[in-house]
Amino acid sequence: MLQRIRDRSQGWIAKIIVALIVITFAFFGVESIIGAFTGDSNDVATVNGEAIKRQDVETQVQRAIRSGQVPPEQEREARAQIIDQMISRKLLQQYARKGDLAFSDAQVDQMIVGLPEFQDQQGHFSRDLFVNRLASAGYTPASFRAQLKEDMVIQQLQQGLASGSFVLPSERERLNALQNQTRTFRYAMLSENDLETPVTVSDAEIEQYYANHQDAYKRPEQIKLKYVVLDQNDMAQDRQIDEATLQQAYAERRSAAPRQVSDIIVNYGDERSESEAQARIKEVQDKLAQGADFSALAQQYSDDSSKQNGGDLGVVTKGIFGDKFDQAVYSLDEGQVSQPVQFDNAYHLLKVTNIDVPSFDDMRADLIKQARLDAAKQAFQDKAQRLKDESFSADDLKSVANDLGLTLRQSDWLSQDSANDIFAEPGVMDAAFNDDVLNRDNVEQGYNSEVIELDDQRRMVLRVSDYRPATTLPLEQVRDQVRRALETEKLQQALTERADDIVASLRQGEDVALEWKKAQAVTRNEHPDVDQGIIDAAYRLPRPDKGSTYGHTGVEGREVVIALDRVGQKEDSDAASFIASMAERLQAQTAVRGLSESLRKNADIDRN
């Protein structure tokens, strides 16, 4: 085979192909050839011809999940959002690139060296820290630099737009004046008593209203259920637990509990060699054996800043300092000191000073509960299996309940959307309205449901015992309801009309007997005594030239007549500066967002 390729490659066709490959490599790099074969299926979208790669999206999604910004169950939504963000960033990046915005390698270097995340305790850039931090965030130095370059040009663009926005003095003054305006007004709530004739409702009107609002008086289809629940907690109730089991369980909890740890750290590398460090840690170990105090030795020998607290690192859970640390710490009991452990370019002597676990007596109830559950586990699983088998083969649920010694329960009428208690738990109503379980033509023909796993410790099987289809309730059954709704509607109508009349009279300068309440120099913002709806309405009234202006508004089903007497101004320098800075921020935000949206509108975006 190889020989044949070699033979053929002497031919001129082969030479041309090789030449083409060489040229392609030379000019476009390896990606162009690989890319030509892997094609579009790896691209999530193209933005003005530039691809967004699926792999890049996944990297970002995983990064977001790992950093805890996104709970795993929201991965799908997060992915859509991340793709959207990446499209926006791609657009900005293209715009920046076209405008000759750039961030050079030298600038990136300078920036990385200056980031506090990568500096050691003395404030110097640390290569190890740099590599470690990147690795834990899922970057390589090269990919991080590329990302940083991209980020920085986008940031330059956005910062420029933001730094170039301003608020003019007259704009600031006007906003301030409007926001700090005060209005003095009176208001009067109208009630039924203010009507000249009370609202009445006739039978004909009720029928009419009922006919016009059929939807409000519908009842959805409903079912009644027979059901059994198998509960591990019930089965666990009367299990006998002996003391030894409890002690054993406590010991297990204790050995897995977080520990408070002190650490004597002897570094090697720059200052001393590994063997010197080993000798030094041995020295500490010998002193400990002679009865020296651990924390005093930590202060004397440790290279870590924790030495000020006698080496105390605080309470530590598994997974923070790596496997070697965990292995050592979790094999120690309280007060014990480890053999020298070697990791992170240092030797460590570790001491567990406290195990963070409640006392046996405090945990007793909890332990008993758990032990009982454990004891009942096998029996529960066996019974759950029997429940599955028998409910599948049986034509009714009663015999299953009797066989398994479970109580057969009966529900009231239930509809799919308005179930409560156990019926509201996930999966229950879905199972009940499953076509095999609910036979709408003949309820008797329905089957037992499958076993519903309510949670780890509970299983349910149900069966439909009764069914009624959706219907519009007859007027006789809902007459009172209809009457109340109609009365409310008519009253509101009458009050609005009455308020119109009153406002017209007031504008004519006539006297109307109303129970006015006063609101003195109220600002737009909340007022303890006056409803916000009334304040808003008062602020929508025209300014009075002389006398007052009038209006009315509906607030929570009541009608309120308002008389605006005076418009004033409140001095508030805090508010003024707040308003100025908010206006400025919004200007900046608008400039930045406007660009993004503009680019998106004019872009050619294909989503795969």
Binding site: A96, G160, L161, G164, E171, L175, L178, L586, E597, S598
Partner: protein
Amino acid sequence: MAEELRTEEEQLDAIKRWWKGNGTSLLAGIAIAAAGVFGWKAWQNHQDTQREAASVRYEQLIQLVGQQDMSDQNRKQASTLIEEIDSEHGNTLYADLAHLVQARLAVEAGEQAQASQALQQLINNSKRPYVQGLARLNLARVQLEQGNGEQALDTLKQQLPETLAAQAANVRGDALVVLGRRDEARQAYQQALTLSEQSDQPIYGVQLKLDDLAPQEAS
């Protein structure tokens, strides 16, 4: 064997003859190609250096104007940087952004004429419609500040990005209020409100301005 040798000699002769005829032009071609490649590289290098210089200057500018309270000296330094970016990197987006910043610094110093000059320059020189539109919007506001309501309205009639339409309507409302055309102002604010709700991008104060213009007959 002898026959082959002859042909090889003949071939050699043929090559020599060809070389006499075409050798010079081939060498010249290679030389030109090499010069082209080196020239291109050098040009790219130059471009990169230019870009980096622009980037560094711009970065300094942003740092300076990002400070809470700028000293006079910082302001001076900022305007030197802006001039440098303008003269050295005139066609870049950096220059456009620097002019926006220049206008802001002028506004802060109370120099509305300077601000409007910077914006005007940006509008005339930039090739980027969005930034131009943003500058027009800012220019209209500065013109209004200077008391030129009609001028501001004219500026707003020119091309503006669609995504800033709500802001433009708001400024138009402001101009109309200054000109005493309250009914039109009310319409403009109403439009600003509708547009900003559509784009889910709130503009602070529009509702306040609209309420404050409530017509006498309203209730």
